[in-house]
Amino acid sequence: MSEPRRTALDALHRALGATMTDFAGWDMPLRYASEREEHQAVRTRAGLFDLSHMGEITVTGPQAGAALDHALVGHLSALAVGRARYTMICAPDGGILDDLIVYRLAEQEYLVVANASNAQTVLDALALRAAGFDAKVRDDREAYALLAVQGPQAPGILASLTDADLDGLKYYAGLPGTVAGVPALIARTGYTGEDGFELFVAPADAEPLWRAITEAGRPAGLVPCGLSCRDTLRLEAGMPLYGHELTAAVTPFDAGLGRVVKFDKPGDFVGREALTAAAARAEQTPPRTLVGLVAEGRRVPRAGYQVTDAAGAVIGEVTSGAPSPTLGVPIAMAYVDAAHAEPGTPGVAVDIRGSREPHRVVALPFYRRER
C-alpha cells in the first residue's frame, strides 16, 4: 500500500477532530461529529465539504468538443459555454467506466470531473480517444482543490462572499468569479439533492476559503460535513454512485440512465454499437431495474445483500443501503428483475444476514427538495 494522498485541507480537518477514512487512496474526512447531524444540517441549513479527491481533467483546443463527443456518450460540443452536463464514459462494450460532470469553461476549454477512484482510467481513456483530434488532454488533479457548500442556506452564505451573479447561475451552470478574495470556478452543482455550489480553487487558496465560508456560514448554522453524510444525502436523492449502482458490468441503459447517451450527435463515439444494442435490448426485454427499497423493520439493507420475492427466490441485489436520516427508516437502492420493479410489488424482502426482512418497492428518489 502506498501512502494515502492528503488534500490541501488535511491539517484543518485534523484540527477539527475529523474521523478520517481511506477513500480511493485519499485520506478524507468521514465525519466531524455526528454524521446524522451533518446530514440534517445540509437538508435544513448548510454544510461545507472538502471534495478535493475528485479528479479534474482539462480538455482544450479547436476540437475539444468533438474529441469529447467521440470519447463520452454525451453531446458536449453542443453544450453552451458556462453550462455543465452529467454524462458518462463507456468502454467499447458499453460498460460504464465512470460517470462525469463536464463543464464548458470556454469555446475551446472543458473541465471534466471524474470520480477519484476512476480518475486515472478516465485520464488514460481520454488521452487515447482524443489522439486523432486537435485537442489536448491535461491532468489537472493537482491544480484544483474542490469545496462544496450545500443546503438551502448555501446561496445566502455564498452571496455574502462574492459579487458573482449567483441568482443568474442556474443549476448545472458554472462561472469564473472571486469568492472571499479567492479566484474560483463557481458551479451550481452537487451530490446532495439540495441547492448548492461547488468551488474549484487553487490548492493554496483552499484553507483561507474554507475559513471564510465557515465564518460566513456560522449564523446560518453551516457545519463541516464528511463523506459519510454525503453518501446518505445522495442515496436519499436517488443519485447513483460509481462502484455501487454503476460499474463496468452495466451500460447506462441497464442503470436506467439511457437518457445520457446521445445517439444523434455528429461523428462516431466509443461504445456506439454496443449501446445501440443495449438500448434495443432494454426496450424489448427490460433488464433488472434500479428501484428504491424502504425497510419495514429497523435492520439495514447493505450493498451486496440479495433481494427475494415472496417465495424466497432471488430477484435482485442491493447496491447501496443506509439508515435514512430524513425518512427515519432504512432505505436502499437495488437492481431487481423487471417483474418485481413496480412500486408496491408485494412480497419483496431483503436477505439481511440470513433472515428475510420485508421491504417496500418505491420509485426513486426517496427525497426531493421543495423548490
Binding site: T19, L30, R31, S34, E35, R36, S228, T232, R298, R299, V300, R302, A322, P323, P330, R353
Partner: protein, 126 residues
C-alpha cells in the same frame, strides 16, 4: 488520561462489563467502539431469559456505515435489557458507559482475556 472507567473491565471486541453486584453484571460497548461505529441507529439485544456465552455474538448494532456484531464478554442468563437504548440508540454514542448500557447478565463465567482499563487503553492505542 484514559476515558475508560477504571472500575470496568473490557473485551477485545470493545465491550465493557461492570463488576457483578449480587452476581449481576452490566454490559455495554466502549466509547472507542461507539466512535468507530458512528451514529448507532438500531440495537438488537438478546432476550431477557436468554443465555449468552462469553466471546460469542448475542446481538448487533446498526450504524450509518455498517452493522457490527455484539459480543458478550461474560456467560450467563440475561436478566434485563436497556429499553431506553432500544428506543433511542443514540445513547450508545452520547453515553456509552452510562445511559447507553445494553444488557445485564447473571454471570456464571467470563471471558478469560478481559482487560483492565489500563490494558484496554494500550490495546486501542496499538
Amino acid at each position: 488520561m484514559s476515558i475508560n472507567p477504571e472500575q470496568l473491565r473490557y473485551s477485545k471486541e470493545h465491550e465493557w462489563v461492570s463488576a457483578p453486584a449480587d452476581g449481576v453484571a452490566t454490559v455495554g460497548i466502549t466509547s472507542h467502539a461507539a466512535d468507530a461505529l458512528g451514529d448507532v441507529v438500531f440495537v438488537q439485544l438478546p432476550e431477557v431469559g436468554a443465555t449468552v456465552t462469553a466471546g460469542e455474538t448475542c446481538g448487533e448494532l446498526e450504524s450509518t456505515k455498517s452493522v457490527s456484531d455484539l459480543y458478550s464478554p461474560v456467560s450467563g442468563e440475561v436478566t434485563e435489557t436497556n429499553q431506553d437504548v432500544v428506543d433511542d440508540p443514540s445513547l450508545v454514542n452520547s453515553a456509552p458507559f452510562e445511559g447507553g448500557w445494553l444488557f445485564r447478565v447473571r454471570v456464571t463465567d467470563e471471558a478469560a482475556d478481559l482487560l483492565s482499563a489500563a490494558e484496554y487503553d494500550v490495546f486501542i492505542e496499538g
